[in-house]
């Protein structure tokens, strides 16, 4: 499956793009995280990594589809 990932903060620096096409066999949020850490080992150094699907935080067992809006959410630091 080919997912389009929006990146923010440090994940943009690591993946090198604002919107990145990411191909993998998995179909769940948790698999996406593991695959990202495998291919971009720097991801493992973050304090946390969350994934948002269609503008809401998603749990690891959530199934993602190619047309979903998927975003990588490194530790937030607003305010």
């Amino acid at each position: 499956m080919k997912y389009s990932l929006k990146t923010f903060g440090i994940t943009r620096d690591i993946l090198g793009g604002k919107e990145v096409i990411f191909e993998m066999d998995g179909e769940k949020v948790g698999e996406l995280k593991l695959e990202l850490m495998a291919r971009f080992p720097e991801m493992k150094s973050l304090n946390s990594l969350l994934v948002a699907v269609n503008n809401a935080y998603a749990k690891d067992d959530m199934v993602i589809k190619e047309k979903d809006e998927i975003a990588l959410i490194p530790p937030v630091s607003g305010g």
Binding site: G9, I10, S45, N47, A52, A56, P75, V76, S77, G78
Partner: protein, 143 residues
């Protein structure tokens, strides 16, 4: 009112959007850019937001607060882009009938907005830059 904006925040205007004639108390939290962090001078900050989701998350926080306290008015405004020390990064305003709940509600909102809203800041120092809280802090301890 929930606003994510690249323009300088007019605090007085944000307060006005949250006022109410039946309120006796208004609490305002203003987060400003400090001129120092990790013992170093901050030259500027870069803020970015995942805007649609940030608005949605802030709305959830407001809804939670409205369930806990009698909010007669409220407003959250968050700046993005390049900010210099002294500039306003975020303003939270709540109006309530009495003062105790104004403090409680305002603190609840800013605490949860900071914890949940997908907004990020990068501190730019004279000798480098760093996404805040992204990685375990290995910098010089501050005093």
């Amino acid at each position: 009112m929930i606003k994510i904006t690249e323009k300088a925040i007019d605090v007085q205007k944000v307060i006005e959007t949250a006022s109410s004639l039946s309120a006796g108390a208004v609490n305002v939290f203003i987060g400003t850019v400090r001129n120092n962090a990790q013992g170093k001078n901050v030259v500027w900050l870069e803020y970015e937001a995942y805007e649609a989701m940030a608005v949605a998350e802030i709305r959830k926080v407001i809804d939670e607060a409205a369930n806990k306290w009698n909010l007669l008015g409220w407003a959250v405004s968050h700046r993005i882009g390049t900010l210099k020390p002294g500039e306003v990064a975020v303003v939270v305003v709540v109006s309530t009938p009495h003062r105790k709940e104004s403090f409680e509600a305002c603190q609840y909102i800013i605490d949860n907005v900071k914890a949940k809203a997908p907004i990020w800041k990068k501190e730019v120092f004279e000798d480098g830059e760093e996404w805040v809280d992204a990685r375990p802090n290995i910098a010089t301890p501050t005093n």
